[in-house]
């Protein structure tokens, strides 16, 4: 229960930050994808099931507030959470490189899928322009933010796990 509420607050907070403060702090006209970092981190630390749920909720939130066709972001975020859940097997407590690499791969896949769903299907074929203009800058910025955000999420997770042990 405690975990549920904490994660809900984290997701909400990241969504709000992403849509407001980081819009002002945008570098190279892109905004880091905080919700993706949260989804990756939860999938990586906690496994597939939680990755799926966190991804689904984050994506749905984005769709509900900004999307016109609801479900696309939810699906992509969920897929990201699910696939990152497989990496729980290589989860190691003090590792930071692996989650950052996972964030990079996930962010690129997310944007690529989004491009396919929403741009390629409308006949916008200039893939390399979009890679240069959006995918790569967002990847770099997201990875940078992920270094700090992952640490924070990691300590939140540690704190939650500790309190769960105490409860049992």
């Amino acid at each position: 229960m405690k975990r549920l509420i904490t994660i809900a607050i984290v997701v909400l907070l990241c969504f709000i930050l992403q849509s407001t403060v980081f819009q002002v702090l945008a570098l190279a006209n892109v905004v880091p994808n905080l919700l993706l970092i949260v989804t990756v981190a939860v999938g990586y630390m906690r496994g597939r099931t939680e990755g799926i749920f966190v991804g689904f909720v984050s994506g749905l939130l984005v769709d509900m507030v900004y999307g016109d066709i609801i479900g696309i972001c939810a699906f992509i975020y969920m897929l990201v959470g699910f696939l990152n859940g497989y990496c729980k097997k290589i989860y190691y407590r003090d590792e930071i490189t692996v989650p950052i690499i996972l964030v990079c791969i996930s962010d690129f896949s997310y944007n690529f899928l989004y491009y396919v769903f929403r741009f390629l299907l409308r006949g916008r074929l200039d893939l390399f322009y979009y890679i240069r203009r959006i995918m790569l800058p967002e990847l770099v910025y997201t990875a940078l933010v992920a270094i700090f955000l992952y640490k924070a999420l990691h300590s939140i997770n540690g704190w939650l796990e500790q309190s769960e042990v105490e409860e049992v």
Binding site: V21, Q23, F53, D68, G71, F82, R133
Partner: protein
């Protein structure tokens, strides 16, 4: 957490089920987009006050940063200018006051003479799309302030976009530079119709695309004004969209197309005006 462990469903099945849910929602929202808006509104109504609150924080941070940068520049030039300033101070003050008054009056006059009939409501931009692919944003007025879907949004002296969604206390605006935006325009000088489409590949250069100019003979020069056409179904006629540049005959020799510089500075959009009059629909 312990509750979930009891009903142990393999993650693969959960993924499958939720994928099906996603696809179902996609189809539903595609077919019955209007009917889902109460749900979306519920989400938005909860989130808008939070965004509004945090936005004031964000704005102060950015203001502070601007201040800091300004201060840095000022310090280096301060010494050079100090002597000059002393002599010019008195004159300058008087002149500046006059000038600001004049420019304000000019602005008001121009704005009002351009759009005399339309009733307008001011609104503040409170959040932008979290996705880097789109140029939609939310403003802090909604149904409670009398806004409706398809109302036109302007800023300064030009068209910004159109409201695509209204909640109780917020609305979502799709700007004309958005990749999925399309507006019927007309060249005010030559009276030729055209389509103005947003294009993500041109956003950085500050352009939007203009095309489907059927008249091959007419020569469109750079700087020609494009305003919204009377033929548009959703946009009120006569709103300035932008100025043409580099309009040429297409390679298919059927129509002309080119670029448009929007008259609104989309990078620094802070407050906008919503025209509370809707375009009348044909019945």
């Amino acid at each position: 957490m312990r509750r979930r462990r009891n009903i142990s469903l393999h993650p693969k099945y959960i993924f499958g089920i939720l994928t099906a849910v996603c696809v179902a929602i996609m189809i539903l929202s595609f077919l019955y987009g209007d009917k889902l808006s109460p749900v979306k509104t519920a989400f938005g109504s909860v989130l808008t006050p939070m965004q509004k609150g945090i936005n004031t924080v964000g704005r102060t941070i950015s203001d502070k940063m601007d201040n800091f940068q300004e201060l840095k520049g000022l310090k280096s030039t301060n010494k050079k200018l100090e002597n000059e300033v002393e002599t010019l101070k008195f004159q300058n003050k008087a002149l500046q006051q006059d000038k600001s008054e004049l420019s304000e009056l000019r602005k008001l006059f121009k704005l009002d003479s351009l759009y005399p009939d339309y009733p307008k409501v001011g609104a503040r931009v409170i959040g932008k799309n979290t996705n880097n692919w789109y140029n939609t944003f939310t403003i802090d007025k909604g149904k409670d302030d009398g806004l409706k879907v398809d109302m036109n949004v302007i800023a300064g002296d030009g068209l910004v976009g159109i409201i695509t969604e209204v909640g109780h206390n917020y609305s979502t605006v799709r700007s004309i530079i958005d990749d999925s935006s399309s507006v019927t325009g007309v060249f005010s000088k030559t009276k030729d119709d055209c389509m103005v489409d947003g294009d993500l590949t041109l956003v950085d250069d500050g352009y939007i695309r203009v095309g489907y100019i059927r008249n091959k003979q007419v020569q469109i020069k750079d700087g020609y004004e494009v305003v919204t056409s009377t033929k548009s179904t959703k946009f009120l006629p006569g709103l300035l969209i932008g100025y043409a540049s580099n309009v040429k005959l297409d390679s298919n020799n059927l129509q002309q197309s080119g670029y448009l510089t929007p008259s609104v500075d989309f990078k620094h959009l802070d407050t906008v005006l919503v025209i509370t009059k809707l375009k009348e629909k044909l019945k």
